[in-house]
Symmetry: C2
Subunit: 334 residues, 2 copies
């Protein structure tokens, strides 16, 4: 018998195969193969990208030359363009806006063959610090209402370049999924006078079976209503609506837990394709005290797109209890 | 410059590449290859499936033997099981239900190598009539609140068996996406005292550029806010909330327009993988007079899963104006 579980934030139902879950070793994963070729993100090829926006680099070196460890550039083929004014208008019954926005790429390291999981905790600290500094900078642009940070790893997850990188998109609108989460958190708060994410952390800490690991500032678990096998959420333990307000000691812990989770996924699942997204409150739209920023990792192990897209009903062939156990036991510590 | 377009039903924003859309011949489509092997849906292999629920068959033949043209069986590996009582309960802050439901398969024809697009209009009439009769029958079961009819064509769209078939799932809950559509249609109706889908038909008929074709009872167009390249909606022109109330002459026209659209997609795009879903009102939940049933076809041409899933922001590399033109000109009539 399967279970239908209801997400307390968005009201989404997910069917979970609890009685006969697919085992961790039953997923047929095609490992990523690097194709090589000239890569615009490799050291020495700095001229192949648009000009550098920011970088962590040796102070004796100039922008757009070697000597960096993390490098931020504009996306050469941006989803949205930075130039222009907002122009919201209607065409009959339809509303539209022109596609103003920023689309940046954070190149995480110089080595073509190293993924984010292969970096040291200190190196990941530098990457996350760039997530923060770019968020802070772009929020000054009054045209933008949302900053979306996400990573596609592997072709099946939509990565078009194989050199490890994260993307940032600044949007003139608030995406639907974000609005739903905000609304859900606000409704829960109105009813209970507590944060739904804080409550979720408490319940996971009581039940324990879906927790993968914790450190001082973060907890990582497979959520009760996991849409995808091995879906993993990383939440800061202290309530905070906005990612960009993260302080240095919290960045250090975030780098540690993110590295450990990505490493365990890589080891346990033979380097699966995955997406991760940082969920944070909108900017300029008022204060979202009810929201709790976090990071959601979605490994791409199943191919069940259209039905889920169309219905909003997800079918998860395994259970978060089983995948959490699997990742808990995949400890990489020496 | 791209455009951001807002869906008037759900509020979803989609980014559309209007100024430099990907051309119809630029999609890299891997044609479906049939692998062969013993197929449980082929004529002669009736014993390989669970017992027949309904069929269009020669009256001189018995169930579970050859002699049929359309055959309905239970899914051998059902997402939900029909036996048992509903059991809604809470685990701490989480809500759940057991996975009661029906999961049926409508085998559309006996020939392993014929897709739905390859059938005659009369043969498709028989298939759609089974969609209707199964919907009517399952709605008698008071445990169910929603009947979902959908088709996965091709491996990339999640089809695990290649013999052409449609699936029906009867659910004890109303899926999130359906709720959103209902809510959107209700809100629009409250504000305008008109159906949002009827208004959409009028506007498409005025603008004309996104219409692919029409017949007496149906219109097919690429919606203004297409999430996916070549996304196509087929709407009955007469307002009706429930698919299952469809009459015979409307079924005939639905078969005609569905066949023509699927055929044009197949010819123009080299047999792409696709999903289609029938969107209809919930059962037993009250009357949804504001809703307007329809069918949505989503070809699987792009690989942009995690980001869209996570953010609710879809990026469409082409425009519905261009894809509608392409399908309009792909006329197959002799």
């Amino acid at each position: 018998m399967s279970q239908l579980r209801r997400d307390p934030i968005t009201g989404r139902w997910v069917e979970i195969a609890v009685s006969n879950p697919k085992r961790c070793d039953e997923f047929d994963i095609k490992p990523q193969t690097k194709k090589g070729g000239t890569c615009p993100f490799c050291q020495g090829n700095e001229k192949m990208t648009p000009p550098e926006i920011e970088a962590v680099r040796d102070i004796k070196t100039r922008p757009d030359t070697p000597g960096w460890t993390v490098r931020v550039v504009s996306n050469k083929f941006p989803a949205l363009k930075i130039e222009g004014d907002l122009d919201n208008r209607a065409i009959g019954m339809f509303d539209m806006s022109n596609g103003i926005g920023a689309h940046e790429v954070i190149v995480e390291n110089t080595d073509h063959n190293k993924d984010l999981a292969d970096l040291t905790q200190d190196e990941i600290v530098n990457v996350i610090s760039k997530y923060k500094s770019r968020s802070v900078d772009l929020e000054n642009d009054t045209r933008f209402r949302y900053i979306l940070l996400f990573k596609n790893h592997g072709e099946a997850a939509g990565a078009s370049l194989e050199h490890s990188h994260t993307q940032l998109v600044a949007l003139p609108i608030v995406p639907k999924r974000v609005k739903e989460e905000l609304k859900g958190a606000q409704n829960y708060f109105k009813y209970k006078e507590r944060c739904v994410f804080c409550d979720m952390i408490s319940q996971e800490q009581q039940e324990k079976e879906r927790i993968i690991l914790e450190n001082k500032h973060f907890i990582a678990f497979c959520p009760f209503v996991s849409r995808f096998p091995f879906e993993t959420w990383i939440l800061p333990k202290a309530h905070s609506p906005e990612f960009k307000l993260i302080d240095d000691s919290t960045i250090y812990d975030m780098a540690g837990i993110l590295r450990e989770i990505l490493l365990r996924l890589k080891l346990r699942l033979n380097d699966p394709a995955y997406n991760f997204i940082i969920h944070t409150a909108p900017i300029r739209d008022g204060i979202y005290e009810e929201f709790h920023w976090h990071l959601e990792i979605m490994p791409k192990l199943t191919n069940v797109a259209g039905f889920e897209w169309g219905s909003g009903l997800y079918i998860n062939p395994t259970s978060p209890e089983l995948t959490a156990k699997c990742l808990r036991e995949a400890c990489t510590a020496k």
